[in-house]
Amino acid sequence: MTTLTDPPKASFRLSMLIYDTRYRSMTIQAVAMIGFMLFAAWLINNTMTNLETLGKTPQFGFLLEPAGYDINQRLLDYNSQDTHMRASLLGLLNTLLVAVMGCITATIIGVLVGVLRLSKNWIVAKIMTVYVEMFRNVPVLLWIVLAMAILIESLPAPRAFRGENPEATMNLFDTVAVTNRGIYVPEPLFSNSLGNIHLLGQSSLRFDVSVDLIAFLIVLGLSIFGITKVNARAKHIQETTGERPKTLWANLGLFFVPTGILLALLGFHLGYPELKGFNFKGGTHMRNSLIALWLALSLYTAAFIAEIVRGGILAVSHGQTEAAEALGMRSGRTMRLVILPQALRVIIPPMISNYLNLTKNSSLAIAVGYMDITGTLGGITMNQTGRELETVLMLMLCYLVISLSISMVMNWYNNRVKLVER
């Protein structure tokens, strides 16, 4: 005879918190959470006690005190009486400037080198391999200080440009002066300028917006809008009649005529650098520190990008090329329509992390005296005010925001080109 027993009652015992897999994860998480909070509390408590002893209770009032130091390479107007906050803002803009410039040049050089490394030409491929290995295996800081040393030591001083028979001459039809104090390039000037709009009054975040630039951008935008309309019409005609009307001249005209008229009306001309006294005047002055950092970061990152591009192209199977040829595509179209879209999917994610690395490496500007955010907020401001905790936290926050925004934009782009799987 058999007796049917009831299933065991689902009673809860304390030991089940550890031995029952249903509850164990919760136990582990609770322990981890408590441990983390205890650790954080310990850190904060220590910090508070220590700062109290040092008489440096955290506060951000120092940001509104006058900075008292100069920033020589700057994008907005600034003088040493401005606040630490404005100094940091200028530093941030300098970081972004060198990061954007670096990313663009690194991409161009990197793609070129990556493609050339796959060249059938033996010697070209070998030269590119040497370039890549050389730059990848030596610290970027060394490249930065080396670039700075080359610029300072090997370029002619401004006084070499003086006299009847100068030792050095300006390049590119006397428009660019390459000296050991930096590079002077022509600047755009408007003789009938519409002036500037001053925004945000006298505050630390004030900035000027050039009306000329706004007008130019508006006209350019309208031109591009017109061009898209013309092209859409051409496509429509092509789809209905099978013949595509010629759009080249209309497009060129739409692009150049309105902007040309506007520039002529504004009295656009270039201001060339000129040797006056001991130094060059006029033109835009790019200091050595900026150039050295830009060059070194671009060349260093380009070596990594080259490897990524090479890997991406190699990852597209040869069958794709052959299939495209079988369809009768020419090699240019094969590259543009078949190989590149597939290679890009492999290339983009590591490319994003290299852009991020470049941006973070731009903090090494401090080694050559370029006033980026590490040099202003994390350098002179920190040393002058003695507010280490606040400045380092703000510095980290700035870089975090930059990094996360780049990641977000790039991830959005990555999702757009991603293979749609069914």
Binding site: A32, K120, I123, V138, L400
Partner: protein, 448 residues
């Protein structure tokens, strides 16, 4: 009718290929002069290579090796070649190479009353860092190459405790007692598990060593030192420098970051929400900020975070921050490897009845780590290169030393030779590591 056949009845002998398609000529036609564009590219490249090599080789080899200052160097150059441009002055390396390798590490850590020949001191020159380096090679050999005898793993186990003692000096009891902590943990697990059960054993095996390290090590080591004194002269951290410092920071960061990185990667991949959030937060925070800000933390802030009165050695602080930095990157690399494993591997492990740690140890990790070898090695290379950043917070790594050497009146104004030497040494190390990773990839590739 004649029997003239118009069909060839015997085979022709095989002909040699045309002379232009074999040998050097054929190779050059195929690889260098294949079409107009390629020919132009080849010629431009050859001209470029010629000019670069001509300048570089004459600079490197027509050089001065013996001089005591840059001025003297230039005098010799003018006397020999009639110009100072285009010739290297390797005399600076000759003069300062010990400093570039060891920083200000004392060649004879002094101990009064001990005499070694004409040099007063307890040890022959640079004996301790050299021995540490040789032991390092012995310690990593069994990990890197499987043909090396397994017994060398003992060196690997002892090395983490031996190396700090050799480098910093002092009493041997500190490192020995620190190592004893692991013994205590093991004994606690073995002896207490039968008494208080498996979980209690694990908790005891973690808690007892922590108590030992936090509160008892100092007292016991001091006691033992007063009974049996075994010590070597101490060397302060600020005397460390040169490649010795770079290698020290690199090796410690690389060695510690791999296990921490694996744990972080597992945490990020796990289903436990809070653990996952903590790991993601840590990884993304560290990866979002540049190393230089973390080094600022090490140099000015870390002492503020610790209990009042704690005085931490600067190199130790830098080591901690660089390790944390490397761990976050390592975690992402390992996570890539984990994510690349097919789901079937996890399910297979589950169906065999393995628990989480068994599955990780026996099935998941060996495969995931194998996939991520290239990434791991490039992280290693990156960390080693990033050790140069410590020059910004004032440590004397090779780059910092190059500034110090230039500050000397004798060598004021010398750039290229120092940079070339430093770059060459870094290149040798990093290139060696990348070649090793290729070797390992080939070896581990099972061809499926």
């Amino acid at each position: 009718m004649s029997d003239v056949s118009f069909v060839r009845t015997e085979m022709l002998p095989q002909q040699e290929p045309p002379g232009s398609s074999v040998g050097i000529v054929g190779w050059a036609r195929a690889n260098l002069f294949d079409g107009v564009t390629n020919s132009v590219l080849t010629i431009i490249s050859l001209i470029l290579v010629y000019f670069v090599l001509e300048g570089l080789l004459s600079w490197t080899f027509q050089s001065v090796w013996n001089a005591s200052s840059l001025t003297e160097c230039r005098e010799i150059m003018t006397a020999t070649w009639g110009k100072t441009h285009g010739h290297a002055c390797w005399a600076v390396i000759n003069d300062r190479w010990l400093q570039l390798l060891y920083g200000f590490y004392p060649p004879y850590p002094a101990e009064p009353g001990v005499n070694f020949g004409e040099n007063t001191g307890a040890w022959p020159a640079y004996f301790r860092p050299n021995l540490s380096f040789v032991l390092l090679l012995l310690a990593v050999a069994p990990v890197l190459f499987d043909k090396v005898p397994r017994k060398l793993l003992i060196v690997t186990a002892v090395y983490p405790f031996l190396m700090p003692w050799l480098m910093w000096g002092g009493s041997i009891w500190g490192p020995v007692m620190a190592a004893a902590g692991f013994g205590i943990g093991f004994l606690a697990y073995r002896l207490l598990t039968p008494v208080i059960g498996g979980l209690g054993g694990i908790i005891a095996a973690i808690a007892l060593p922590v108590i030992w390290w936090l509160f008892l090590v100092g007292i016991v080591a001091a006691g033992l030192e007063s009974v049996v004194s075994i010590s070597i002269p101490e060397v302060e951290s600020r005397k460390f420098g040169g490649f010795m410092l770079s290698i020290l920071i690199g090796v410690v960061a690389i060695g510690c970051s791999l296990p921490i990185g694996i744990v972080l990667a597992l945490g990020r991949q796990s289903d436990l929400m809070i653990v996952k959030t903590l790991c993601v937060g840590f990884i993304e925070f560290i990866r979002g900020v540049p190393l230089i800000t973390l080094l600022f933390v090490a140099s000015v802030l870390l002492n503020v975070f610790l209990p009042p009165g704690t005085q931490f050695d600067i190199i130790l602080r830098v080591l901690i921050m660089v390790t944390l930095f490397a761990s976050a990157y390592m975690a992402e690399v390992v996570r890539g490897g984990l994510a690349a494993l097919p789901k079937g591997q996890y399910e297979g492990a589950d169906s065999l009845g393995l628990n989480y740690w068994q599955a990780q140890r026996l099935i998941i990790m060996p495969q995931a780590l194998k996939i991520s070898i290239p990434g791991i090695v490039s992280t290693f290379i990156g960390v080693f290169k990033d050790t140069t950043l410590v020059s910004i917070i004032g440590l004397l790594d090779p780059l910092g030393l190059s500034n110090a050497i230039r500050a000397d009146a004798a060598w004021n104004g010398i750039y290229w030779e120092l940079f070339a030497f430093i770059a060459f040494l870094f290149f040798v190390f990093c290139f060696g590591m990348s070649r090793y990773s290729m070797y390992l990839e080939r070896k581990l590739h099972k061809g499926h």
